[in-house]
């Protein structure tokens, strides 16, 4: 029979109140509360807090005027010819997207569009439905993982004082060919502050994570190994030898700007809070040289 102490009780209590626990733990919580007056009182207080929170927030509703405006706006939108239906816009938004898309060729545009659609619909089939080899270069999963929690990670490590010549922690056990990336990174010339480099993981995947800042913006340069099985299956095209530079994909993942290169063995991602145009500078001046270095090392 599972038992828990007061400390564990408090740890799992919120999950208990949300009915998120396994049956066994649920019973352990109830048994503990029966015998411990202090924890019983804490349970009551948290339950009350939950109730007050819910009532306070749900007391607000959309006004009838707003609902009417919304309906009218939707009807106006629906009345427009479906095929020529204009995009939803606010000033500025369209021009930003136009600028962003304007500079890419059709396959790149298709990829960028796919990345945006994935954000909206969250489905992988868009990628697999395309016959173009390029569209399969990077899976949505890797972009998701790259744009995952790395900004927390970066914000935390930025707060630590580290020498930039420090070796990357734990890189030996992950991939020795990624040693000393910090030393070879051209951040100084770019006015970036280099903070820290380490190996972290997101989802199933490990990343060598180099953290830079530029004013309030954080930049994460992430290097991860390509999926060998996927390459065997022919999903990921092999390195094209740099004919047109490197494979590139641009996309917005939530609040991040994500760009990626790939070499025969690695994927190099730049994830930042920069706007697309500024990001583009660092894609070329920071991510690309690192990708080139890895290509050299891979030979």
């Amino acid at each position: 029979m599972q038992t828990i102490d007061c400390r564990n009780f408090k740890e799992v209590l919120d999950s208990y109140l949300s009915d998120e626990l396994a049956v066994e733990t649920n019973h352990a919580v109830m048994r503990h509360a029966e015998h411990c007056a202090g924890c019983r009182s804490e349970m009551g207080a948290r339950r009350k807090l939950r109730g007050v929170l819910r009532e306070a927030v749900t007391a607000t509703t959309a006004t009838p005027e707003f609902r009417n405006r919304l309906r009218e706006r939707l009807r106006a939108e629906a009345s427009a010819d479906v095929s020529a239906r204009p995009a939803v816009k606010k000033p500025g938004r369209e021009s930003l997207f136009a600028k962003w898309f304007g500079q890419f060729s059709m396959p790149q545009l298709a990829m960028a569009m796919a990345a945006v659609l994935v954000v909206i619909v969250g489905s992988a089939y868009l990628f697999s439905s395309s016959n173009q080899a390029q569209a399969a270069t990077l899976s949505p999963a890797i972009l998701q993982q790259a744009a995952g929690d790395h900004d927390h990670c970066a914000a935390f490590w930025r707060s630590l004082t580290q020498s930039e010549t420090d070796p990357i922690h734990n890189v030996e056990t992950y991939d020795p060919s990624l040693q000393d990336l910090g030393k070879h990174s051209p951040h100084k010339a770019l006015g970036l502050k280099f903070h820290y480099a380490h190996v972290c993981s997101e989802g199933e995947r490990k990343f060598v994570h180099l953290i830079y800042s530029r004013g309030d913006d954080l930049l994460s340069l992430l290097v991860t190994q390509r999926n060998a099985q996927a390459m065997k299956d022919g999903v990921v095209p092999t390195d094209d030898g740099g004919k047109a530079g490197l494979q590139r994909e641009l996309g917005l993942m939530g609040q991040y700007t994500v760009s990626a290169f790939q070499t025969s063995r690695h994927v190099v991602l730049l994830v930042s809070s920069l706007d697309e145009q500024t990001q583009q500078i660092f894609v070329e001046k920071l991510a690309q040289p690192i990708s080139n270095l890895l290509r050299q090392r891979g030979k």
Partner: protein
Amino acid sequence: MSPQSAQQLSAFEESALSYADQLFRVALRVLRHHEKAEDLVQETFLQAWKSFHRFEPGTNLRAWLFKIMFNLHHSNLRRNKLQIVPVEETVFDTLAYDPPTPQFITEEEVLSALERLPRDFQVPVILADIEELSYNEIAEALNIPKGTVMSRLHRGRKLLRMELVNYAKSYGLKVSEQ
């Protein structure tokens, strides 16, 4: 409007517009501004209507709407130069310490405590504990892995309680000084 569009629109209104209140109150907590919250909700529904043909019936409409809303919100933030606050430091301080929850809390206190939470922790708490979305729905809406939802929710709930305790303490201190 063609009969087909009219039919589609009424289907959309019937299903999606019933979530207007939920979207609005969450937007209001996140933006703390009535008109901006209305704008965001309107933008969300217009975007949803445009993409409605891509929505698969039978999948989760509410999570889909929240997802659209947070994507729009994030791109607005990006446009207005998002400031990244190193939240982990606050969180590290609080992890080991878990004081008793105050027994008497007013709605005003709890709303002000909620507003003081870092955005990344505030939103999962709102979606889980007020709007009752599941971990999977929140992960879907915020584009983050389920594990991240769970850890942010855990920390967010704890931070909320810490805010209330600190408030109660400062109040208590004032009283004892008088």
